[in-house]
């Protein structure tokens, strides 16, 4: 068992598609399912799943890419730091092209600022250790999946007495925006819940969605067979008029999640209000560094505050992140806005909806 190939078996996929068709026949109307996670969006495009779904099952993408929902004001703060003498910016590669209000980190790097891509926040701590005369700032973006690795880096810096390492944190949590979307304009009939966010938070995080709002939730893995089976489970719940949290991905996601990671998060961070690019402010949807660890908080150390920046009004990212519009509805798509020169954030990260459409869209439409 390698945990990958087994879940890409084509013959089994065809059987699951047939099964999905039968399940869908039981639906009395067309239903809208949302995959909130960018990696699901990408998997759906990459494996050409969209054309396989029956007429009655519509899939829309949600706000599940942390890069996509990072506001321009945050990028501006990172750029202010990049321009501060003696500062090294360390970041995941997908943050480089995110447009701020004027420029981006990749352009700043071109202009000679020290902006370095790292594979993990731990590598940023190593950078700090090997550059004791510099200030190393890590750009902490990401959901519950990524936040523990940033928390772990802060704990490592503390344990090892590293004093020139800070995090510019803009972490976000998933259940709150899902709840906000549920109350929004789009009627969402079911959620494909994020796989690895769930590995941390467990099933509990979605319970309110099912119990209070009556929206079925299925935690689903990223392999094609997982996704097909997750959709079948959702359709079955809808057809039977049930709304519960089910876990298709139990080989990785425990019902209670990762309790140790939850403890690390609760130690290093605290809940905060956060602004989502395209969605606006959502109460309690962010994670800020706790005052206990404020010496690792770049906002405090460099006395920054997040500017309020207006986004390009022609960009439809906000509507796309809410599942109300699709990339082809945007006048800038593939013309003014391309992966090389993104206008909106959905085009930046490889798993943003516009980027996935740009890369795989024609193929998946041709197959349709």
């Amino acid at each position: 068992m390698k945990y990958i190939d087994e879940f890409r078996d084509g013959a089994l996929a065809r059987k699951l598609v047939a099964d999905l068709e039968i399940e869908a026949e039981r639906l009395s109307r067309r239903v809208t399912l949302m995959e909130v996670c960018g990696t699901h969006t990408m998997a759906i495009y990459r494996h050409g799943l969209k054309p396989l779904f029956p007429e009655k099952v519509r899939l829309v993408s949600g706000p599940g890419c942390p890069v996509c929902v990072t506001p321009a004001g945050y990028v501006d703060m990172a750029i202010t730091l990049a321009r501060t003498p003696g500062v090294i910016i360390t970041t995941f590669g997908d943050m480089l092209k995110v447009p701020g209000s004027q420029t981006s980190l990749v352009k700043e790097r071109g202009a000679g600022r020290d902006v370095r891509v790292v594979y993990s926040p731990m590598d940023a701590v190593e950078t700090a250790k090997s550059s004791p005369d510099k200030e190393v700032v890590f750009l902490g973006v990401g959901f519950e999946t990524t936040a523990p690795s940033v928390a772990a880096a802060i704990l490592t810096a503390k344990r090892e007495g590293v004093k020139n390492f800070t995090v510019l944190a803009s972490h976000k949590v998933m259940p709150e925006p899902m709840e906000a979307l549920t109350k929004g304009e789009l009627k969402i009939d079911g959620y494909i819940c994020p796989a690895h966010v769930s590995a941390i938070i467990g099933e509990r995080g979605y319970r309110r969605l099912a119990e209070v709002y009556g929206v079925p939730c299925v935690i689903t893995g990223f392999e094609p067979l997982d996704m097909l089976r997750g959709v079948i489970m959702l359709v079955r719940q809808i057809a039977e008029g049930r709304a519960v949290v089910e876990n298709e991905y139990f080989r990785v996601v425990k019902p209670e999640g990762n309790v140790k990671a939850q403890a690390i998060l609760a130690d290093v961070f605290e809940k905060s209000n956060a602004v989502w690019r395209g969605l606006g402010p959502i109460p309690d949807s962010g994670l800020a560094i706790s005052p206990r660890y404020e010496s690792y908080d770049a906002m405090k150390k460099f006395k920054l505050s997040e500017p309020d920046v207006r986004e390009n009004p022609a960009c439809l990212c906000g509507e796309i992140l809410k599942g109300l519009k699709e990339p082809l509805d945007c006048g800038l798509f593939a013309t003014a806005c391309t992966p090389e020169n993104p206008v909106g954030a959905c085009m930046v990260s490889s798993e943003g909806t516009c980027a996935a459409e740009f890369r795989y869209g024609e193929r998946s439409r041709a197959n349709a």
Binding site: D94, A152, T156, R251, I264
Partner: protein, 79 residues
């Protein structure tokens, strides 16, 4: 950034381990897992092992996928 992969543990230290996928080795922090042994499969995300894979559950998932109730039902109706 959000790409996590199942990797096989090849070496275990106090706070971190070395894990491998397709011949590529990377180190991963193990502070969020209870107990990690050489040969375990772990899900690594941004340098942190976030979960250990459970082989019995993986087998069970595959079994559930093969056991396609609705398809069989339809076949019964046809025959």
């Amino acid at each position: 950034m959000c790409v996590a992969a199942p990797m096989k543990v090849v070496e275990v230290g106090e706070y971190s381990c070395v894990a491998e996928i397709d011949g590529v080795r990377k180190s991963a922090s193990i502070i969020a897992l209870e107990e990690v042994k050489v040969g375990d499969y772990i899900m690594v995300h941004a340098g942190l092992a976030i979960s250990k894979l459970d082989p019995a559950s993986a087998e069970e998932t595959l079994r559930l996928m093969r056991e396609i109730v609705a398809t069989e039902k339809r076949n019964d109706e046809i025959h």
